[in-house]
Symmetry: C2
Subunit: 344 residues, 2 copies
DNA sequence: CTGAAAGCGCTTACAG
DNA sequence: CTGAAAGCGCTTACAG
């Protein structure tokens, strides 16, 4: 900490050359005599010199780094996404850094976006869609000189790259799948009300029910809180209904895992007595869930993680690709243990 | 991307003041007329200016950021650690960024350490102890002008901060716990041979066995590969032994989860027929483990995550704390479902 | 209270 | 092939 870092000047002086020459050998530019180059490299090793990233970024107007920001990095929900990021990161020459805002802390998330985009990275990848993100969105809008990719957040006013998931279609498919299994009384437990995906999936449920001419009975729509644990009470509310549903589609797997617990705790069998379906194909469920494996809708997070980094590195090297990319990823039903055919 | 970012010069020109003045209002320094300050702020808002981090870091010789590097950020093993980092991060004014090297990729890890320490952060926190980390360690040695904290890696030659876990003692406690439960035939499945903790825990096992005058019988020590799934075969090898152990202490929970699977698959009951113990208190086990909950040794990763960030922010503001900190964290036995008393 | 100037540590035309 | 100089975008003594 105390003794100043060794700078390019130090090695220039010691090697009896100009800083320009040192810079050339550091960057492997040709036009330096073999002999001088060797001498310089020797001094570099001796002094343990390595170039200052901030200074370099400043003059190059390029950081060669990519930033990712999410909420709750610790959440195992991100397992596949992060793995995708890591895998692509390893294959690129960019350094990639992750930033995380705890909970739904909007201010902190916005600060990270600002921090990153002001000269610490060349591109930022943003996961998630909170309805409270507006001021951040506004900031991004005003700073379009950096590459942005929004994952799973379709803000119409934003001209940046978007990697989207077909939540609406996925939810419809879930309901249709339940319908194929002969269920008619299908309920829905909505997810975190702050997240936009919740609405998209809710709309998918409604639409599918309508198209299938299935009635959404009184009480069949249960609104959970931001805490997925509330899936437990919501399920209980459903089970208390006079006209109990035979299947329930939950907005996400964490919620579904709690719904299953509730059913099990009431002595019901899942899926024999009630079918339960989730969304996400989250391979790691919260709080040591050990019930039956949850039938769900998969979103391809691993692929999206990979694609986002690749997209950004391509765009960063091809300065001519100007139009932002917009891509929608399809979902897939994963059949497991919590849904079976209804025998009425 | 195309149109240059707005710089301090742009706002200075537009506001008819010097860049010095703009800088003063941006940094809330007093000595600027109310009137001028307001004018400048107006222009800043209008132009959407925010200061460039790289430039600022360069002149301040301070980045106000902390970097963390781990292997396999996606691994749910990090749940508590990351949560600790996040929590402390939220309470500090530093920006914290995570970097991850996939697998045991030493080169990539080293590159991240270099990248971060060359002017992108003021301190780097490093988790983990691979025996292959030597060249990285050497680099850190040569660059002690930045704050480093090594978590769970006691490199004697390094003069940096160290937050250590008492793996040796924890392993001893595990064996003693098993002994209290009347087990005499206690075997051990070693962990990833590339990690130093494996050795420490192994040594703890040996030492405790000796002190308790318990025999380490032929075949009682099984060496797993770097893949925790090999816990399965290692357990089978143990169960094939003529003199079968009645308890096995595994080097980590992931390994233990596979050991349990192996026992269960052979029709044995856990713990009635064989007791199995892990290490880590990893709350999320791999591959949808659904066996009995594993009795284990907890390492306080949440606390360590918090402490490391706090430590570093303190040291960064108190320039006089020169001696690096070295702290050892104790472990704790967590009793769950995979160990019971032996009735011989 | 305000600005001109130096400097943080680099890179890169431009001369020679 | 090599170096002097300008400049990236800031901040901060130093004058005034």
């Amino acid at each position: 900490m105390e003794n100043r870092r060794v700078s390019i000047k130090d090695v220039a002086k010691k090697a009896n050359v100009s800083t320009a020459t040192v810079s050339r050998v550091v960057n492997n530019k040709d036009g330096v005599t073999q002999q001088i180059s060797e001498k310089v490299q020797e001094v570099i090793k001796e002094l343990g010199y390595s170039p200052n990233t901030a200074a370099r970024s400043l003059v190059r107007q390029r950081t060669n780094a990519i930033g990712i920001v999410v909420n709750n990095l610790h959440d195992p929900f991100f397992y596949d996404l992060i793995k995708g990021f890591e895998t692509a990161a390893q294959q690129t020459s960019y350094s990639v850094v992750f930033c995380s805002a705890l909970g739904g802390d909007v201010k902190s998330k916005e600060n990270y976006v600002k921090y990153l985009s002001n000269g610490v990275v060349d591109a930022v990848i943003l996961y998630g869609s909170y309805r409270s993100d507006e001021s951040m969105i506004k900031y991004i809008q005003d700073n379009e000189q950096i590459e942005f990719v929004m994952i799973e957040n379709d803000v119409p006013s934003l001209q940046c790259n978007k990697l989207l998931i077909d939540n609406f279609g996925g939810a419809k498919n879930a309901v249709n799948y339940l319908k194929e299994k002969k269920h008619r009384k299908i309920a829905h437990i909505c997810g975190n009300p702050n997240k936009k995906v919740t609405i998209e999936r809710f709309n998918g449920y409604i639409q599918a029910m309508q198209e299938a001419d299935l009635e959404v009975k009184e009480g069949y729509i249960q609104y959970s809180s931001a805490d997925y644990r509330s899936g437990y009470e919501r399920m209980n509310a459903l089970l208390d209904l006079e006209e109990r549903p035979t299947a329930v589609f939950c907005s996400d797997d964490a919620l579904a895992s709690y719904a299953v617990r509730a059913a099990l705790d009431r002595g019901l069998r899942v899926p024999e007595d009630i079918s339960i379906m989730g969304f996400d194909n989250q391979r790691i469920l919260p709080d040591r869930y050990r019930g039956p494996e949850i039938t769900t809708v998969e979103q391809p997070l691993y692929t999206i993680g990979m694609d986002s980094i690749r997209l950004v590195s391509e765009r960063l090297s091809n300065t001519d690709m100007k139009m932002p990319v917009r891509k929608m990823y399809e979902t897939k039903i994963i059949e497991r243990e919590t849904v079976c055919e209804y025998h009425g």
